[in-house]
Symmetry: C2
Subunit: 381 residues, 2 copies
């Protein structure tokens, strides 16, 4: 018997109530029932994102929502500032190139965060930039960005701020309206506790104005004008994955029962506990500013990260993610958001320790669990 703990930073696990929603009979998607479900999903996402802006739900992976931003905002030759400090920052850059933007890349090495001052400098140098593309949680390095400060800077410019929140929304604190985020993109399969298949995008008034002003957007499936008009009627331009949207409603109800402050706090405590556990083992986190929902752990000298990940899965049923790109073989990434709690984290940090010991790395037995337990114990007081 092996219980699987899927703790990659996406997809993450979904609650049984949500999964049972997906086992219900398929009903038609152009019905009052389906519209009510879509309306509840949109309202719930607004609360998760802390926004009164429009929200569109897309049947695609999160990347579809990123493409929707670029395709609808950027015209060929437009200047766009893309912030890149990892694989998902690079995705923004690739999208800009695919849509033939003049791309200004503000880059930092993997593990670092983009300093907001660099965004201010880039905007000063490129005052005609139409958009700044940022990442809330850079999943490849487990860094969370200071979107609040970046938002304050971009708000003073004509550019819109688009944020890839795919692995961040519902884990890291994120206040769309208060932080002046014009487009916040998310996916279903991480902190939102639904299997993959859905993306969503918030669109501010400033963002909508740009979208409406673009008469020749290179978009059809991801045409935001059509999507926004349909969303206003609780509808979609194309057949949505409406049973996944019903599942999303189930997960959103569970999330909003607690409220976002509680969810963010719970997720941040899981991060602190994992960080304390790895410090107790003498290990380091890669991230300069650790994200709430995922931790990138640098494998100790002499341990191949991929061997560690394989042992964790094979023996303990703990499925973590390996490093991507230049980080391959150097880190493992452990997700701790959504349908995961302190008790789960206790088991996971213990397995991190047991597996390291088995690989020959000297550990003080019990140190990881003890350190994590102390973090939670103080949090619960």
């Amino acid at each position: 018997m092996k219980k699987l703990r899927l703790v990659t930073p996406g997809p993450m696990m979904a609650p049984p109530e949500t999964l049972l929603e997906l086992a219900k009979p398929v009903y038609h998607h152009r019905t009052p029932q389906a519209r009510a479900v879509l309306a509840e999903a949109a309202a719930g996402l607004k609360e998760v994102c802390q926004t009164r802006a429009d929200v569109v739900i897309l049947t695609s992976s999160g990347t579809g929502a990123l493409e929707a931003v670029v395709a609808n905002v950027v015209q060929p030759g437009d200047t766009v500032i893309a912030l890149s400090a990892g694989k998902f920052g690079e995705r923004w850059v690739q999208l800009c190139r695919a849509f033939r933007a003049k791309t200004v890349v503000v880059e930092e090495p993997y593990g670092k965060a983009i300093p907001p001052a660099r965004v201010a400098a880039a905007l000063k140098e490129h005052p005609n930039a139409v958009a700044v593309l940022a990442t809330l949680c850079e999943t490849s390095t487990a860094v969370t960005h200071d979107i609040e400060s970046i938002g304050r800077i971009v708000a003073d410019s004509p550019a819109v701020l688009a944020v890839d929140g795919i692995s961040g929304v519902g884990a890291d604190e994120c206040r769309t309206d208060a932080w002046h985020i014009d487009f916040l993109a998310g996916g279903s399969q991480k902190a939102l506790m639904v299997p993959p298949g859905l993306a969503f995008l918030t669109v501010s008034a400033k963002g909508r104005q740009i979208v409406e002003s673009r008469s020749d957007a290179a978009a059809y499936y991801f045409d935001l004008k059509k999507a926004l008009r349909a969303a206003a009627e609780s509808d979609t331009p194309f057949t949505p994955a409406h049973t996944l949207i019903a599942a999303l409603v189930s997960s959103l109800r569970q999330i909003l029962l607690d409220g976002m402050e509680a969810v963010w706090s719970r997720t941040r405590h899981m991060s602190r506990a994992v960080l304390a556990a790895i410090r107790a083992l003498g290990l380091e986190s890669l991230a300069e500013r650790p994200a709430a929902g995922v931790t990138a752990i640098v494998a100790p000298n002499g341990i191949a990260a991929d061997d560690w990940a394989k042992l964790l899965e094979r023996k303990y049923g703990v499925k973590v993610a390996s490093g991507q790109g230049t980080l391959k073989g150097k880190i493992i990434r452990v997700g701790h958001m959504g349908y995961l709690d302190a008790l789960d984290v206790m088991g996971i940090v213990a397995a991190l320790e047991w597996s390291l010991r088995e690989l020959g790395f000297a550990v003080e037995p019990g140190a990881a669990a003890s350190a994590a337990s102390r973090v939670f114990s103080d949090a619960y007081r």
Copy 2:
């Protein structure tokens, strides 16, 4: 969001594969398909019980299987030796009285085990006893009995040995044939990882001989002669809960993939880890001989056990059992068998500590998790 950990010593949690079996369409129970399922379930139960004896599957709670023993073996006025050191020992006594046996009660206080020597003495004093009724794991006190020694003693007498293994089978080591158990009773909802609704009973050749010799058993639904005849044809005398039997097959496949030695060892390690954790907190286990699948923890002075249990459920989603009878308010009982693993136990022992601290009991933060982690770490080396 609150994840429920159902760790009462029954019912325990069931794997998703097993639960999905129950979501399949209902089919007819008098079909080759249903007979094949019943045959596989019986074969699997034999391996779990380490027996070549007959096995009957009953649609009832575990108590039904105990009643089947008494009703089919004991005639009014027969002498029966009932071993009682807790609430489930007392159940044997009540059954004996209901079926008007002359009941010899060999009793020990709650928390103790019946010494095998007392069984030998009772048999010597009552050589005409037709049965000795014992309990593998006494769920009310989390004591496991030395059935191996008791079996050796009873085998030398004309009496049959019946063992209530409802919370023990699949958790505590139990070798039906090698230990001379004539009737071993179990239920679906504990280590067998199936929701409640099924019981089963192994019947040795010696047991079957007694059953066949009783011409006027006060049994109809629990008539073992009928049940054994039907079982020989992979059938049942009455409509069985055949979808639960299909679920049982799913769980048995998962159990037997590991094999019983591995299952017993895994369960015993979970017990050792919980015992180490409570010792690290300065607490005591009630049981003289702790069972592999459940631990009874004596609440420390000044802490009402029921308050502790309520806090564990309300705040941490950990549903434990309270004490029964005279132990009410004094102990909590934590199950750790079946669909539970080391990672689950890490979270549970941490929650035991966090909740005690919150109730004002002085703990060394991290001590419980550290102690449990060290037990597993050594076991995994």
